[in-house]
């Protein structure tokens, strides 16, 4: 006899994968949607960079002194600035002229600027930012403003230092202290700013729970569909009379759903990664710090916990879907599980569960789906205690749910539960 289990798994994967609702909704759309969104953002940022690669800045010098000339000279020589020098008699005249210009910045150097600096006092300049629209480009305009003030400040400071202390390195006077950043992480010293390390860790702490809860959400939906579709297509009755064990049928549903869920998750994550990389080019830095990559033991422990949790979620979805009449009602029913997955996911993304109030902490730890997400977070720091507790807790939960699922599959309830629902709203 051809292997009944394999036969069922192959059918399961084929039938689910060919269903447009699953193929398009769960596999193709994420694969296309995220890259399209990412590309759109990339194009916008690209256009923005192009636009601001040479910003037009208008300037007027009412001072005519050595320091104001220095500023106009520095701005004129700056390759990223297209300087428009205005001749005006008053501020009002400058503002009137600027209305006809395509510029977002107007620099006004008043009389007395150079004199003030020469006397050791503050020199004042006026910068007018012209906001023409509310968009990312306006925010980018703010960045240009920041870099221009830096350029002006640096040029004037260097000139002042050179005049006051000839022969001294203006850079050393301006920044007499140079800090070499080191960070101790997992007992290892890294020659890196802690901000960079924390940035990478935060990115991992955000990405991991998102990945895990997406896998779990996919899995429950697929598993529920795999049962409900048998009812909707009226194939379940025939399936139950075939010479194949009921537990084999259950097992094949679990395996088939896992395969589709894995495909959906891979598609989602590939799309999501492309999307993130579209505007987070710094993420490439992560590759240069091996210790920040999860270790082999992390993958083994969290992988095991994830696998057990996945089986638990699949079995729970199957148990729930047994009571549904069709795919739509099955997905509506398993929708009630979603908060149990999403809430721990969000909590572990933005906070440490142990810092939460006791009641909330107990509630989060009572949810079996919390463990892979919480354990992944602590596992990144090399602490696997939550993972081991999770393996035990989720295994017990999984066994209990599998027992219920097996009971439903080995009795007529898998058929009659729906009948009772129809007739009188009674369940089991």
């Amino acid at each position: 006899m051809v292997s009944g289990g394999l036969n069922l798994v192959v059918k399961e994967v084929k039938d689910l994968l060919r269903d447009p609702k699953i193929l398009i909704g769960m596999i193709i759309v994420p694969l296309i949607m995220f890259p399209v969104m990412g590309s759109a953002i990339k194009v916008s940022i690209g256009t923005l960079r192009e636009t601001y690669s040479k910003s037009t800045v208008a300037a007027v010098d009412f001072d005519g002194g050595c320091f104001s000339s220095l500023i106009t000279e520095v701005l004129r020589k700056n390759p990223s600035i297209d300087l428009v020098e205005l001749n005006a008699t008053s501020i009002d005249d400058v503002l009137a002229q600027s209305r006809g210009l395509d510029t977002s910045l107007l620099i006004v150097i008043p009389r007395g600027f150079s004199l003030n600096i020469t006397l050791g006092q503050h020199g004042f300049i006026y910068i007018f930012s012209i906001i023409r629209e509310i968009s990312i480009s306006s925010i980018r305009g703010g960045e240009v403003l920041g870099s221009i003030t830096d350029v002006i400040d640096k040029a004037v400071s260097y000139r002042v230092i050179s005049e006051l202390a000839p022969g001294r390195d203006p850079e050393a006077v301006l920044k007499p202290v140079v800090v070499y950043y080191n960070t101790m992480f997992r007992g290892e010293v890294l020659n890196t700013n802690p901000q960079v390390i924390l940035g990478i860790l935060t990115s991992q702490l955000t990405t991991l729970p998102v990945t895990i809860f997406i896998v779990l959400i996919f899995a429950v939906q697929i598993a529920a569909t795999s049962i409900a579709i048998e009812k909707e297509q009226k194939t379940l009755e025939t399936l139950l009379t075939l010479p194949v064990g009921r537990l084999t049928i259950l097992g094949s549903k679990l395996i088939g759903s896992s395969i589709i869920a894995a495909l959906g998750s891979v598609s989602y994550m590939v799309g999501f990664r492309y999307y993130m990389n579209s505007f987070m080019e710094y993420s490439m830095q992560q590759l240069d710090i091996p210790i920040l990559s999860p270790s082999l033991s992390f993958y083994i422990v969290i992988g095991l916990l994830m696998f057990i949790t996945l089986v638990a979620s699949l079995a729970l979805a199957i148990v729930i879907a047994v009571f549904a009449e069709d795919v739509r009602s099955a997905q509506a029913l398993v929708g009630y599980i979603a908060p149990l997955i999403i809430i721990p996911g969000i909590v572990s993304m933005f906070s440490d569960v142990n810092t939460l109030p006791l009641t909330v902490k107990i509630l989060i730890y009572a949810i079996p789906f919390s463990y892979p997400m919480i354990a992944a977070r602590s596992g990144l720091m090399g602490d696997y205690s939550i993972a081991f507790i999770g393996v035990v807790y989720v295994t017990v939960f999984t066994i209990a749910i599998l027992y219920v699922a097996a009971k439903l599959f080995t009795t007529e309830k898998i058929l009659t539960a729906r009948i009772f629902l129809r007739r009188g709203g009674r369940r089991l």
Binding site: M1, K14, K234, P243
Partner: protein
């Protein structure tokens, strides 16, 4: 003589509703046996119990000597069940569906293909078997499912309303296939229907069932003679009125 099916004092209660009330009948090996009665009479419940997907509340049900409660997996090896409202996997082609089903009975790839060839002949669907099941009409789907049920050459074929909802052409095709197949391979068949003409055409003996109780078991001709009726339908009405 050993029976293919032996049902004694079968009772089935769903919740508080008695679906079958002390049902008893026997089916001989190689016989085409009919269960006739109106909707809700208990035909489908009886067939579901014989198919091992529903358990009896009480009574004895044996299929080729095996008990449906204690040895259901043995029974599933040699029965084939066609439910009344059966469907196919919409996104598989007819051929893929048949290969999938044959995979549970065949001992080798070769015998899978043999079964599929038989099914193609029984269904008469030709090249349409290459198309996805979702493109089939109701009649085509029923022919595919009947072919699936018969291709495995079961010892007992359990067919619940095999022509339900079919047009005259498809219904006639299905009836002819059942009769010729049972005759050719000596397969025992239990067929349920509320179509008395169909049962008369197919069955050597019938059980008249109403409100969960078997009222009569006999040959169609004997029933007609006993109740002095022109047709089985008339006999059935007289029996139910008496019962």
């Amino acid at each position: 003589m050993s029976f293919a099916v032996d049902v004694r004092d079968l009772v089935k209660v769903y919740g508080g509703t008695i679906a079958l009330d002390r049902v008893s009948f026997n089916v001989y090996q190689g016989e085409v046996f009919g269960l006739i009665g109106p909707n809700g009479a208990g035909k489908t419940t009886t067939l579901r119990i014989l198919s091992t997907i529903v358990k009896p509340t009480s009574g004895i049900v044996r299929v080729f000597g095996y008990d449906v409660v204690s040895e259901p997996s043995k029974i599933r090896e040699f029965i084939s069940y066609l439910p009344e409202e059966a469907g196919g996997y919409r996104y598989l082609s007819g051929l893929e569906y048949l290969r999938f089903m044959a995979g549970f009975y065949a001992r080798s790839r070769l015998s899978v293909e043999e079964m599929v060839r038989d099914a193609a002949e029984i269904s008469g669907l030709g090249d349409r078997l290459k198309d996805k099941v979702k493109t089939y009409s109701k009649g085509m789907l029923r022919r595919l499912l009947l072919a699936r049920a018969l291709m495995v050459k079961p010892k007992l074929a359990i067919l619940d309303e095999p022509t339900s909802g079919l047009d005259v052409i498809h219904a006639s095709y299905v009836r002819k296939v059942i009769r010729s197949y049972a005759y050719k391979y000596g397969v025992t068949v239990i067929v349920s229907s509320h179509n008395m003409l169909e049962i008369e055409f197919l069955c050597s003996r019938v059980a008249l069932i109403n409100k969960g109780r078997v009222l009569e078991v006999n040959e169609p001709r004997s029933l007609k003679d006993k109740y002095n009726s022109e047709s089985l339908e008339e006999a059935f009405l007289k029996v139910t009125m008496n019962g």
